[in-house]
Symmetry: C2
Subunit: 289 residues, 2 copies
């Protein structure tokens, strides 16, 4: 696979409407090519590029969608301030030979009268689902739409938004969307901070403190190899983050890697998840055990 149509590193094909997108894909399908989608909100970084690399190994043609989805932002969240460096994004996609970029306008994705919501129960009840009401309904709805707009053979999501990844796997299975969902591990800065489009908003001093989130996750996860009192380890993690300079900790929890139920047993496959505020910015991260 992976004989890119875009072998010269020139700009990807640009689709600004669902019709454009479907025309591009129909042409590829006629040529027998398999198609992969990498949904993003733009402000592309190494994390996205890692998703692209994995996808390019799985399919013949790779599309990156760039859409800052208003429905997944809360009323007091940073929708208006979310970065939209489109030119830089497209240049990055060209440099890694992505075949097409899908960059729709919000009015096209949610025209007047739009009134359908996709929601996943269970997995959305805690962690970011609890702290950001409506967030995952917005995610589930836009992902369903993007998958049905493109009908790709495969799509990929990062493990940084691990809860989102599981919710998407669930809805794809539940709604019988004919697509293979891949994931890729978290990409990190050299000091361990999980790469995120929102990191650019950290002040210089907060940026220096921010790697404590990953360091604490690692340190507590290491302790959990011998200490199975997860609730007590979680308390220690929260204290460590507050001492390191985080103002508030939304959650710091050992959870089952598949159901996201609170981890209870040492023989469970689990991950340790955290969300915490520094300088008013909310960072999330997680590690496998």
């Amino acid at each position: 696979m992976s004989t890119s149509a875009n072998g010269t590193g020139t700009a990807p094909l640009l689709a600004r409407s669902v019709r454009d997108l479907r025309e591009i894909i129909a042409q590829w399908r006629k040529d027998g090519a398999s198609v992969g989608l990498v949904p993003t909100m733009g402000a592309l970084h190494q994390g996205h590029m890692a998703l692209v690399r994995v996808m390019q190994e799985k399919v013949d043609r790779t599309i990156v969608s760039i859409f800052v989805n208003p429905k997944q932002f809360g009323v007091d969240e940073d929708l208006d301030d979310y970065p939209r460096p489109l030119e830089d994004d497209l240049a990055q996609l060209a440099s890694v030979k992505v075949d097409a970029a899908f960059v729709p306008e919000a009015e096209m994705i949610y025209p007047a009268g739009f009134s359908t919501i996709v929601s996943v129960s269970g997995l959305t009840n805690f962690m970011c689902g609890k702290e950001r009401p409506g967030h995952f309904e917005g995610v589930a709805t836009i992902v369903t739409k993007l998958l049905l707009q493109a009908l790709p053979d495969a799509a990929i999501f990062g493990e940084k938004d691990y809860q989102q990844l599981l919710i998407i796997r669930q809805l794809v299975s539940d709604l019988d969307i004919p697509v293979e969902i891949y994931s890729a591990p978290i990409e990190r800065e050299s000091d361990g901070l999980a790469i995120s489009s929102r990191n650019r908003y950290l002040s210089a001093s907060d940026r220096r403190l921010a790697p404590a989130l990953y360091a604490t996750l690692q340190s507590i996860a290491k302790d959990a190899v011998e200490n199975f009192n997860y609730r007590s380890l979680e308390s220690r993690g929260i204290e460590a983050l507050l001492e390191a300079g985080f103002e508030d900790v939304d959650y710091f929890e050992f959870r089952d890697a598949e159901t996201l139920e609170l981890a209870l047993r040492s023989d469970q496959a689990k991950r340790l998840f955290a969300a915490a505020f520094i300088g008013g910015k909310r960072l999330i991260d997680n590690v496998a055990l």
Copy 2:
């Protein structure tokens, strides 16, 4: 179009799983055939056969799905008693040369852990949406699933469930499901009663009274040609139904034919909708103005 694969009137191909269904359709697609889906809950009657006839004129291969969807029944509704005359249904499909029947088990459609819901706001707030909480979420979820299981070129729904038809059009548009939705007018018995799988549950005396529902709709709709006081006409309709022997009237309302908002103006395209109980059975019907 309409060169049926099933020209001899033999039994339709029977798919009992999504995998079977997709294999059958993939084979048709390879032959360049277009595909239409007629979703039903079985207990097939003239109304369903009318949908099949329309679909057979639109596409090369027609599938009828038969699935009594538990998610669209309320806790005190008739899920267990809903008729399931599968042999008779398949014989009817053979007689009209339907190409395939999709008859999945409930455990396959909703496996353990199923947790995704599709909901449409606005259109579901009144009429049957108000009287049957959760009903239209169940409908929206199963229709989304069936459409994504089959990915047909077209699907068709009857105007008897007019509110359902509009909700399905809305979700297909909102979720970008690549399918054309057709509709067909209500089929009626010779005395005017709208044909329904549930009519068989009416006692002989209730069956004789039941046509009053359509007669009242017709009579009040006729009055509305000159009298634009819709709220007063609605009251008269309700009174007429109670006098005719209906125990209770859920609604009797003039509504906009597209938005389903209560009709206010004489120049609006509208329909008159009714739901009423006779012998404990709920009948619905509607007429265009």
